[in-house]
Symmetry: C2
C-alpha cells in the first residue's frame, strides 16, 4: 500500500464498490456476465461463476482473458457485463479483454491493485483492492469481488443481501486470523515434510475449486517450482485418481453446501490410497458470524489465505521465497 | 461393436443424428446449452463450448456433470438444451445430470456407446457412437458431437451448414489414417524416449484444449499412471511456465484460426526453455477436404486419434496396456 495510498483506504474502497454496485443496478437489462482474467485472478472468477450460476438466473462465464478475446462470444453485447481483474493492472490479455467488452457495448468493471493502470483506464468502473502486509482481508480482491457477485445476484433476483454480505466480509480479518493461528503448527509440519517434494496435487470443487487451482498454478508451480495439477474433485474419479499412490502428496479442500458431497467422496478415497493427504475442512472453522446461507460461497475467502499460509511455510523450509521467479518479470515472453 | 451391432451401423446412426437434429430444430426457443459429462467425455464438451460460444448467439456451458447437478444453474429451464455423454452410458453423475435437465424442462440429447444404458433411458433423444477396432472415425462420439454442435449453430443463426459439416466428418477416416501414418515413426521414437518418464505436461488452447486435457487425465494419468496437467496455453504464462526446465517434458498442440496465436506464443517459449517438447501442429496436415471456415474447429477431431497414437506407442514401450487400471472397474468408490 505504498502507491496511491489514499485510494486504497477503506473509505475510498467503500466509495468505489458503491459506485460499481450502482453501475450494476443502473443496467437496464443484464443477460450475461463475463468474468475474465488470467492465472490467479482467473481462479477467483471461477468462484464468482459458481455463485452467479447457482444463485441467479443470469448467464455467467469465467474465461481466461485470452480465451475470451479469441473466441469472441457471440452473446457479448449491450446487455452484458464484463468483470475483469489483474493485480498489476498491466496484464495485456486482461486489458484487451476489457477493451473488447467495452467495444462490444458491455458495461465493464475491473478489480486491480494499481490505480491508473492500463486496466483501470480500459474499464468504465473500478475497484482498487488492498494487498501486502498491511492489507485488511475484507478489502482484498476476493472479498470485494464477492460483494460484487452478490450485488449482481440482488440485481437479478430483486433481493437485498448486499448489506449482510458486506457485514460478513467485514468479519474476514478476524476469521482468517483465527483459522491461520489454529492451522499454523500443522501447516509448518506439513511444509517441513514437503520441503523436497517434487510434486503435490490439489483437490477441490464447486466454489472452492478456483482456490485449489490457484494454489497449484501460482503458489506451487510459479512460486515454488513444484509440479502440480489443480484437480476438480468432481473429475478426480474420471481419470486422475489412478495416479493416487501411498507416496503421492495431495492437499485437499472440503467445502460446505451442495458441493461438500463431492469433496467428501474424494476425501474418502484419497485418504485410503495415499498416506500423504493434507485436508483443510471448512466445517472446522467458526463461521458463526457469517449467515448460514452465505457460508458455502464464503469459504473460498478463507481457503485463500489459509492455503497461502501453507505456501509461506513451504517457501521458508525450501529456502525459496515466494517472490523468486526465473522467467516472470525477468524476460520478454 | 459387439453389442447391439445393428444400432451402431452407419445407417442407424445417421437416422439417430437426423432425429437429434430434428429435436434441435423443433425447439421453440433455445436460450442456453449445457454440455455435461465427466473426464474424457467432459473434455469433448469443452470443444463444443468453444464452437457454440464463438459461432452462435446462444449461451453455452461445458460443466462436469456433478458440478452441473450440485450448482443447479438457475438459467436451466424450458428453453434449455442439455447434451450429455458417457461412453458406458453408466456414469451415475452424467445420468443424474441428464435427469436433472429433463426434470427442469430442458430438452435432452445423449451420446453413448451403449444403447439401452441408464443414460440412454434418461435422455429424450440419443446418438449411439462407434468405438473400438472396427469403428469409423466419422461415427465416433467427437465427430457426431461436432455435427450436433453445428446443428445448433444453424438453428440459432438460421444457416444451413450441416450438410457440409457431415461431408467434412465423412473425410475423417482418410484424414486420420494419413496423419497417423505420417506421425507413426516420430510417435514411436517419442514413446521410446518417455518409457520411464514420471511426468509429462500437455499444452493446448481454444477448441483443442479439451483434447490436451483428456490426454493428461485419461491417457497419461488414468491409463499410464504418469503425472500430468492439461495446461491451457493461455494460462501457461500466468503460473505454470515457471516449472518449465530443460528436462521437463511437454506435448503441445498448435491449432488453427483465432486460437493459433495463443499456441504459437506458448510454443515459442516452451521450446526455448525445455529440450523435451513434442509439437503436434494442425497446419502440417492436409485438410483440403474440409471447408476452410470449419478447419479451426475440426482440428480437435484429428488431434484426438493422433494423441491416442502417442498413448498407444507409450503403452507398448512401458509394457502397461491402456486397459490396465488399479482402481477403476476394480473396486467401489
Amino acid at each position: 500500500m505504498t502507491d496511491n495510498a489514499e485510494l486504497l483506504t477503506t473509505p475510498s474502497i467503500e466509495d468505489q464498490i458503491s459506485e460499481a454496485i450502482a453501475t450494476i443496478d443502473s443496467l437496464d437489462q443484464l443477460d450475461n456476465v463475463f468474468l475474465v482474467a488470467c492465472g490467479g485472478s482467473y481462479a477467483l472468477m471461477v468462484s464468482l461463476e459458481h455463485i452467479l450460476q447457482s444463485s441467479a438466473a443470469v448467464e455467467a462465464h469465467a474465461l481466461n482473458a485470452r480465451e475470451f478475446t479469441t473466441r469472441a462470444p457471440r452473446t457479448l453485447g449491450d446487455h452484458s457485463l464484463v468483470i475483469s481483474c489483474s493485480h498489476s493492472g498491466n496484464t495485456p490479455e486482461t486489458v484487451e479483454a476489457t477493451a473488447a467488452g467495452k467495444a462490444a457495448g458491455a458495461a465493464t468493471i475491473c478489480l486491480t491493485n494499481l490505480p491508473g493502470s492500463p486496466l483501470d483506464e480500459a474499464a468504465d468502473s473500478h475497484v482498487y483492492y488492498q494487498h501486502g502486509d498491511d492489507k485488511l482481508y475484507a478489502y482484498t480482491g476476493p472479498a470485494l469481488a464477492y460483494r460484487l457477485a452478490y450485488a449482481i445476484v440482488d440485481r437479478i433476483n430483486r433481493t437485498d443481501t448486499r448489506a449482510e454480505v458486506a457485514e460478513a466480509a467485514s468479519h474476514l480479518d478476524h476469521i482468517v486470523k483465527t483459522v491461520q493461528d489454529d492451522h499454523y503448527d500443522a501447516a509448518d509440519k506439513w511444509a517441513f515434510k514437503h520441503a523436497r517434494s517434487e510434486l503435490i496435487y490439489t483437490l477441490g470443487s464447486g466454489p472452492n475449486y478456483g482456490e485449489t487451482y490457484a494454489f497449484a498454478v501460482c503458489l506451487l508451480q510459479e512460486m515454488q517450482w513444484i509440479h502440480s495439477q489443480g484437480i476438480n474433485s468432481a473429475e478426480y474419479f474420471h481419470g486422475p485418481f489412478e495416479i493416487t499412490d501411498f507416496d503421492v502428496p495431495f492437499i485437499e479442500t472440503i467445502g460446505l453446501g451442495s458441493s461438500r458431497a463431492i469433496d467428501e467422496r474424494a476425501h474418502a478415497f484419497v485418504t485410503t490410497k495415499s498416506d500423504d493427504v493434507l485436508t483443510l475442512d471448512a466445517a472446522d472453522w467458526d463461521l458463526s458470524e457469517v449467515p448460514e446461507h452465505l457460508r458455502a460461497s464464503y469459504a473460498h475467502l478463507v481457503f485463500n489465505p489459509l492455503l497461502r499460509l501453507h505456501a509461506d511455510r513451504l517457501a521458508d523450509h525450501r529456502g525459496h521465497p515466494l517472490t523468486v521467479r526465473r522467467y516472470m518479470w525477468r524476460m520478454e515472453y
